[in-house]
Amino acid sequence: MELIKQGAEAKIYLARFEELYFPFNDEKVIVKYRLPKRYRIKEIDEKLRKERTVREARLLHRAKEFGVNVPHIYEVDLKDMKIVMEFIEGERLKELLEKVPMEERLELCREIGRQLGRLHNAGIIHGDLTTSNMILREGKIYFIDFGLGEFDDTLETQGVDLHLLKRAMESTHYKWFEKGFEAVLEGYAEVRGKEKEKELREKIDEIESRGRYVKERKWMKG
């Protein structure tokens, strides 16, 4: 197993299926392990790690049921608080989108919109939508990292989800983000309908007009 990232709450390892389970399968897997924290009492620590591990697994499961491309789950282990999932080996959209011609770029954005439309139809909020958390593999866009996700189907949270994606695109893809985000909304409307899309556009405007509560957080992840 190779450590590929140490975040605030989890360590992410890249491993081979055969290392963990049975031989003759050299498929790569991701192991996301939620670490105990010494600063909080055991009761809170265990409760949080368990809740979040279970929730992340459920979110991935439900998203898949609704036709969103997400990693397949192999195992959820509540003793070690870990999730073993499919490794999506492909190219991150963050880099890819900068390389392709405009037309292809906008088609990818429409596809992001369609995926997100399905995710919201499933009653799921991703909570951390950035093009770093999207991977293209064999022509399909996958969403990863549901660590901040929630089961929620209100207009407000869906609006915030879209708003955060817009902000993230603005900072990473500032040269063309306006067209790009329009394309995202087009794809979104294909799945959820014009009516919903209109409501969400209005919601995004409203969120942006609140000023103080506009969360400009996504620059953190780069």
């Binding site: 140490q6 975040g7 605030a8 709450e9 924290k37 010494r38 600063y39 909080r40 009492i41 009761e43 809170i44 409760k47 949080l48 909570g127 901040l148 929630e150 000023g211 103080r212 969360k215 400009e216 957080r217 620059w219 953190m220 992840k221």
Partner: protein
């Protein structure tokens, strides 16, 4: 260079006088109420009544005269409108009468900046916890960014409101800390992290309900309240550290007095290989020295305020200010 700073965003009026290296004076007077709660008008009257004597005391203690002051700084916001206006008016009057430059300072930023006056901390993630405010902030791309903040009430107010509901009196923070030390049994309460942000109203309501049910010991509720609320504060701070890659953490604001919170943050910082620092309490709570020091840094960096720029900002956002002085 010598700066004089006036703080008065809420119930505390403070006058501080500092140089680049040192605090020459840091005088306070707090508008006290029996039961707590927020009283903008009364607090503003209090500030207006005391400002002259506090200024005088500060100058005496610093052993400087008003002519020696190079710049007048004042807390421009965020805070209670009537209080802010008293402070801004006093600062303008001084600036005009003695022909001194004036700068308006963001209160939240000043809480974190002043740490540099008393330590060698350079570029920290700040957890700022007081009655009205709860924010995790750090410098990123030339501004103090908010990595997480309360969506409803500040942690100090949550502690104070709980204390009032259960008849402990005001301020509640220290009383709850004392009780919590005797708590043994953890009672589950709603955890306060909401996405990137915090929210304490659910925790408060549930803690009060648990108390009123009569089934739990107050010591255990106080203990559980602290453990739950503080774990959330530390978690959001840790995320900011992980995302920015910074390696210093500072704790500021009135609630920084709490030893359990210090202990938890310190453990988190240690596990991440980060340094942890809490300034002396008189620089943690609302105070004039932090305003003076931040004003001094701003002025030295060439920031100039015209009188028209000195209008108060009740909702002054932390990330509104371009930080050109570091």
């Amino acid at each position: 260079m010598i700066a004089l700073g006036i703080e008065g965003t809420a119930h505390t009026l403070g006058v501080g006088i500092v140089t680049e290296e040192k605090v020459l004076a840091n005088i306070f007077d707090m508008f006290k109420t029996e039961k707590g709660g927020i009283h903008p008008k009364e607090a503003a009257e209090h500030h207006a009544k005391l400002i002259k004597s506090l200024l005088k005391k500060a100058l005496e203690e610093a052993e400087v005269s008003i002519e020696d002051i190079d710049v007048i700084a004042f807390s421009q916001g965020p805070g209670l409108g009537p209080c802010l206006r008293v402070v801004a008016t006093a600062a303008r009057a001084l600036a005009i009468k003695y022909n001194k430059p004036i700068v308006g300072v963001n209160h939240c930023i000043a809480h974190v900046e002043v740490v540099k006056l008393v330590s060698d901390v350079k570029d920290p993630v700040g957890l700022y916890v007081s009655g009205g405010n709860t924010q995790v902030i750090a410098l990123e791309g030339g501004r103090y960014r908010v990595f997480g903040e309360t969506l409803d009430i500040g942690i100090g107010n949550a502690l104070d409101m709980f204390a009032r509901e259960v008849g402990l009196g005001f301020p509640g923070g220290p009383k709850i800390e004392r009780l919590a030390k005797k708590g043994r049994k953890y009672i589950e309460l709603p955890y306060a992290v909401k996405g990137m942000d915090l929210s304490f109203s659910g925790l408060l309501t549930e803690a009060v309900r648990k108390f009123k049910s009569g089934k739990y010991k107050i010591e255990d509720i106080a203990y559980s309240f602290q453990e739950t609320a503080f774990a959330a504060l530390v978690e959001v701070t840790e995320r900011a550290l992980a995302h920015t890659g910074k390696d210093e953490v500072v704790l500021v604001g009135g609630v920084a007095a709490n030893n359990r919170l210090r202990e938890m943050l310190s453990a988190m910082a240690e596990d991440r290989g980060a340094r942890f620092y809490v300034p002396p309490y008189d620089l943690c709570r609302d105070n004039g020295a932090m305003i003076a020091y931040t004003g001094l840094l701003m002025y030295k960096a060439g920031i100039k305020f015209e009188l028209k720029d000195t209008i108060v900002k009740q909702k002054f956002r932390t990330d509104e200010v371009e930080v050109t002085w570091t």
